[in-house]
Structures are given as structure tokens and as C-alpha cells.
């Protein structure tokens, strides 16, 4: 781009370039034709960006400063929505805190678990394909089906989990989703089951297969233990992968919605009332679209903040091969 522009400046435009050529950044008749075709092919997305992304993003930012409620017109109320969120909404801080608690358990478990599964699958065991399929499939299933079937598995009396716990001698097994003290952990467990063997595992598996075997052989010759090979060969070479996966896992965890909404509707007594549930109920059950937009922006800023932190800290601990 920059080079093309410099070239235009350096040479006077040829006669057939004209204003159109300058507009699209092209010199010859052919280049203009090509540029126009380029715009034409990109046109669906240019329209899509405007109508479904840029427009809504700006609109939502605007709504967040209004008292918009679908019916009636939006009135500008300045920072009132944000002030209310930070100081006048009982569920704001608690749902935010709950979302962080969820993420702090979910992210290490999913990422660490995925790494463990990938390392096991990388051992060239017999039946690796079958194991990989069994670990991977939960991730593909509709999130609603997962939430529904786990409510039955975790059913305190008739569910098989508590049946087995009682069989091995646990006299009062947890009530899982049905009790306020355990529901958050029960939901976390479901999301770990669904997420651990998914793309995260496949990404790690691809990463592990990219680790040169000579490094392990060299470590073997030095008499390195399995643990030492893991810390000094596998982990350093996998850090770009771990970094990528962590960013994706944190973003996904902060947006947790479906499992909690379907399995518990945020209950019992708000025990699984995550931030995305709070946004959803404010915006689409009470139709406080202005306030809901403000909450959505709080989530967006948190997500961007975590992405930024990770990307900017990556240089210090990410090892890129040859770099």
C-alpha cells in the first residue's frame, strides 16, 4: 500500500489513471480495472462490516450513554448507566467476581488438561485415534445438549454420579447444580469436560508434533529425566502455542453463558449468575438496551485488556523457534 502510494506521488499519473486511479490507488487502466474488481469481491464484507459490525459497535457505544428501552426514543443520560453499574447494581460486582472465579478454575484446567491429553495422545499408543475421538467429540456437541444431559448426570438423587459416589461410600454426596454452594463448581466442571479435549487439545497436538525429535534424543543422551525433558524441551518449544491457547481460553471463559443459562438459569440464588447472564437478562428480559449495552462494553473492555496484557507480555516468555 505505502509503496504503491509513493509510486503514484513520484510519477505524474498517466492520462488514463485520472481521479479514479488516484481514488483506488492504481496507475494503469488494467490496475484500475483490477482494483475495482477487488472492491467488488470485497463488497459483501464491506457491507457486512458496516451493517453488522461497525454500525452496531458504534450504536452500542451510543446506547450505553442513553436510557434506550426498545419502545420510545433514547435519551442521552451521560455516564449514568456506568455509574449505576459500578455503584448501584447489586449483581454487577458479584457477577463479575463469579465470572473471574469461574475463569481462574476453568482456564488452567482446560489448557493444562488439553496439554496433558495431547501429550498422552502423542505417545503413539494403540488406538490413539479412538481416544482422540472420545476426547474431541464433547467439544462439538451443542452446548445446550451438554448442559441438559449434565443436569441429569448431576441430579442429586437419581443421577449416576451421586449413585456411584454413594456406592463407593460417600454418604452425603454434593447436590451439584442444585445447591448454591456447589453450583458454580458444577458448571465449571461441565465446561471443563466440554472444552478440554477440543480445539485446544488439537492445537497442542499439532504443536507437539512440531517439536524436533533430535532435541529429545539429545536430552536422552544427556540422561535427562522425563520431567526435565518436559520442562526444558517441550514447554519452551510450546510456549507460542500455550500463549495462543491461553488468550482464546480466557476470552471464552469470560463470555461463559450457555451452560449456566441452560443448566441453572443463573441459580440457585444467583450462584451461577455470570456476567454474560447479567447482560442478557438486562438487555433481553427487561429490555434495558441502554444499560445492557453499557454492561456489554464493560465486558468488551475487560476482554481487550486481557488480550492486550497477554500480547504485550508474550515477548518476555514466549519462545519462537529461530527467533
Amino acid at each position: 500500500m505505502a509503496i504503491a502510494q509513493n509510486q503514484i506521488k513520484a510519477r505524474p499519473p498517466t492520462t488514463n489513471a485520472g481521479w479514479l486511479g488516484r481514488l483506488v490507488g492504481a496507475k494503469t487502466k488494467f490496475q484500475i480495472r483490477r482494483a475495482l474488481w477487488g472492491y467488488l469481491f470485497a463488497l459483501p464484507w464491506i457491507l457486512g462490516l458496516i451493517v453488522f459490525w461497525a454500525g452496531p459497535t458504534l450504536a452500542s457505544l451510543y446506547f450505553s450513554f442513553t436510557n434506550f428501552e426498545v419502545i420510545g426514543t433514547a435519551r442521552w443520560i451521560g455516564l449514568e448507566n456506568y455509574v449505576r453499574a459500578f455503584s448501584g447494581d447489586d449483581l454487577f460486582w458479584s457477577s463479575l467476581g463469579r465470572t473471574f472465579t469461574f475463569s481462574i478454575i476453568n482456564v488452567p484446567a482446560v489448557v493444562g488438561g488439553a496439554l496433558m491429553l495431547a501429550m498422552v495422545l502423542n505417545q503413539k499408543l494403540k488406538g490413539t485415534n479412538i481416544f482422540r475421538t472420545i476426547f474431541f467429540v464433547p467439544h462439538l456437541l451443542p452446548a445446550v445438549a451438554i448442559a441438559v444431559l449434565w443436569t441429569y448426570l448431576m441430579q442429586p438423587r437419581l443421577g449416576p454420579i451421586n449413585m456411584m459416589l454413594r456406592d463407593v461410600g460417600v454418604s452425603s454426596p454434593p447436590n451439584w447444580l442444585a445447591s448454591a454452594s456447589s453450583a458454580l463448581y458444577a458448571v465449571t466442571l461441565i465446561t471443563i469436560w466440554a472444552g478440554m479435549g477440543g480445539n485446544t487439545m488439537l492445537i497442542f497436538l499439532a504443536g507437539l508434533q512440531g517439536v524436533p525429535q533430535e532435541l529429545y534424543e539429545a536430552a536422552d543422551m544427556d540422561g535427562a529425566s522425563a520431567l526435565s525433558k518436559f520442562w526444558n524441551v517441550t514447554i519452551p518449544l510450546l510456549t507460542p502455542t500455550i500463549f495462543l491457547v491461553l488468550v482464546l481460553a480466557i476470552i471464552a471463559a469470560l463470555k461463559v453463558f450457555t451452560t449456566a443459562w441452560v443448566a441453572t438459569q443463573g441459580g440457585p440464588s444467583y450462584a451461577t449468575w455470570f456476567f454474560a447472564l447479567h447482560i442478557y437478562t438486562q438487555a433481553f428480559q427487561y429490555f434495558r438496551l441502554g444499560y445492557g449495552s453499557a454492561l456489554a462494553w464493560v465486558l468488551a473492555v475487560i476482554i481487550l485488556f486481557f488480550t492486550y496484557i497477554q500480547v504485550s507480555s508474550a515477548r518476555r516468555w514466549v519462545h519462537y523457534e529461530g527467533g
Binding site: 500500500m1 502510494q5 481514488l23 483506488v24 477487488g38 469481491f41 470485497a42 459483501p44 464484507w45 457486512g48 462490516l49 453488522f52 459490525w53 461497525a54 454500525g55 450504536a59 452500542s60 498422552v120 505417545q123 499408543l125 481416544f131 476426547f135 474431541f136 467429540v137 464433547p138 462439538l140 456437541l141 451443542p142 452446548a143 445446550v144 445438549a145 448442559a147 441438559v148 444431559l149 449434565w150 443436569t151 441429569y152 438423587r157 443421577g159 449416576p160 469436560w193 479435549g197 488439537l202 492445537i203 499439532a206 495462543l244 482464546l248 476470552i251 463470555k255 443459562w261 447482560i279 442478557y280 438487555a283 433481553f284 438496551l289 445492557g292 456489554a296 465486558l299 468488551a300 476482554i303
Partner: protein
């Protein structure tokens, strides 16, 4: 070395005693049971009688598999399962076709054309990936409300025809960048137009990428919950995901117990993605390799 001899032996499983390997096998089998058990239990529950669902302690297997549950499922009053399946099919097919066609068009534009603003446009495309859905969905609701599209399937598939989203475009563009330019340049010299080059030369070469993207799109569209939850509000318009939740929570569907039928509905909602997975297994790993982002 030990690994190789082990895998070459037809009965190598545990016969050649190597404690580490045996433990590893035990470990992976335990994990597989933990991962597979929920699905096994769901399938078994879907074949139980209502009485077996209420028995304490619950039986592991149905005394006689009640395949009739699946026939019953489509006849429950006010639970129009077949309509949900049909709605989901419409959404999935139209979404996937839209994403495949328009994302590859836009990717072609990014990969092969030079014009002012292209790099900026590509940067914006990537940045949409970071924005949470919650931000854009509220104004989209207002937009579709003004179009009169609420409680129709339109909001679920029409946006897919406008470029298919940042991830789809990125995946297709990365793949097209790997194709040699000589092919389309030769065709250009032979007098082929840009559309011909796109349709007859590049797209056929993109089949692996299209297959990967198609499978990802099908699975995402089939399982999507937030958007249908927001844009649909009457049961006869529901897709499978919102329908299943409705079925699971509707208190007054019927006086008779429904748990075994809810389990059957779960199984049916999972079946299509499992079939798609087995048909297109190899494309998942390929998707990871191609995009470096997700599969």
C-alpha cells in the same frame, strides 16, 4: 525403540511388560471412560421407560431398550421437534452456503487484488474477532426489530451472506495465499475474467479449505444458542438448541414424565454433529494447521 517394537507386536497390549506403558494405557483408558460416560449414560437413559428413570438407585441399562421413545418424541403436543429440526436445517444450510461463497469471494479480494484501503480493511477484519458478540448483538436486535425480522429465521442466516465473518475470511485468505499465482496470471493472459479465475480456477483448488470451513460452520450454526434465544420467541420458530432448552424447562408440557424423552431429544440434537465429525474427521486437524487459530 521400545515404542516401535511395542506397536509392531500384534498382541503388544500389556504382554510385553513395561510398567510405564501399562500405566499410560490405564491412564488413557480411565480418561476415555470419564469422557465417554456422560454420552453413554444419555444414550442409555433415552432408551429407558419412565419408571426406570424414576427408580432408585438408577439402573445402568434399560431392561429392554425402548426405541419407541424416539417415535414418541415427535408426537408430544406443543413440543414440535420435527419443526425445530427443520428450522435448524434451514439455518445451517443457508448459513453454510452463504459463508462458503461470500467468505471465499472476500478472501480472493484480500489475497489477489491491490487497491487502496485493502490492508486497513484486512486489519479491521481481524479486529472483529476480538470484539465480544454481546456488544454487537443489542444493536443488531434493534436493527432486526425494525426490519420486522424478530421471530423469523432471517437474523440467523442472512448475516452469513455478508462475508461470513472474520474467522472464515481469514481462514480462506490464508489458504489462497499458499496457491501459486502463476495459475491465475496465466489465465488472465489467456483472457479469462476475474470472476472466471475465481470460480473455475481458484475455488476448485480451495476444496480442502472449503471443506474445513464448511464443517466448522455447520457445527457452529447447529449448536448456536445465544442468537436464536434472542431473535426467536415462539416455539414453532425455534431451532433445535433453543427448542431443547424449552423442552427441558417447560413445566406444563404434559402431566406424564418426560425425562426419558428429553434424553432422546438430547441424543437426536447431538447426532448430526457426530455424523459430520466422522465424515470429515481429517479436516479438523487440517483446519488447525491452516489457520493456526482454531478448528
Amino acid at each position: 525403540m521400545a515404542q516401535q517394537t511395542l506397536t509392531q507386536q500384534p498382541t503388544g497390549f500389556g504382554l510385553r511388560v513395561e510398567p510405564g506403558r501399562v500405566l499410560l494405557y490405564l491412564f488413557v483408558i480411565v480418561l476415555a471412560v470419564l469422557f465417554g460416560f456422560p454420552l453413554f449414560w444419555t444414550l442409555m437413559s433415552s432408551l429407558k421407560t419412565p419408571q426406570e428413570m424414576m427408580t432408585f438407585p438408577p439402573p445402568w441399562l434399560p431392561a429392554a431398550p425402548q426405541w419407541v421413545n424416539y417415535a414418541r418424541l415427535v408426537q408430544i403436543p406443543r413440543i414440535p421437534v420435527t419443526i425445530w429440526a427443520w428450522n435448524s436445517t434451514i439455518v445451517v444450510v443457508l448459513t453454510t452456503v452463504g459463508v462458503l461463497i461470500t467468505a471465499s469471494m472476500v478472501a480472493y479480494s484480500f489475497a489477489r487484488f491491490e487497491y487502496r484501503g485493502r490492508n486497513l480493511l484486512f486489519l479491521i477484519t481481524l479486529s472483529t474477532l476480538m470484539l465480544p458478540e454481546q456488544v454487537t448483538i443489542i444493536p443488531q436486535f434493534v436493527l432486526f426489530y425494525n426490519f420486522g425480522w424478530i421471530n423469523t429465521l432471517l437474523p440467523l442466516w442472512v448475516p452469513a451472506w455478508f462475508g461470513g465473518g472474520g474467522f472464515a475470511i481469514f481462514l480462506m485468505r490464508q489458504f489462497m495465499m499458499t496457491l501459486p499465482r502463476d495459475l491465475d496470471e496465466a489465465a488472465l493472459i489467456d483472457g479469462a475474467g476475474f470472476f472466471r479465475i475465481f470460480w473455475s480456477i481458484l475455488l476448485p483448488l480451495c476444496k480442502p479449505a472449503l471443506a474445513t470451513l464448511g464443517i466448522i460452520t455447520i457445527i457452529d450454526a447447529w449448536g448456536d444458542f445465544l442468537r436464536p434465544l434472542i431473535f426467536l420467541n415462539s416455539p414453532e420458530k425455534f431451532t433445535v438448541s433453543v427448542g431443547l432448552r424449552f423442552f427441558n424447562t417447560a413445566p406444563d408440557v404434559s402431566s406424564e414424565p418426560m425425562a426419558h424423552l428429553i434424553m432422546a431429544a438430547c441424543v437426536l440434537s447431538m447426532l448430526p454433529v457426530i455424523i459430520i465429525f466422522f465424515l470429515g474427521q481429517r479436516f479438523f486437524v487440517r483446519g488447525i494447521v491452516m489457520s493456526g487459530i482454531k478448528g
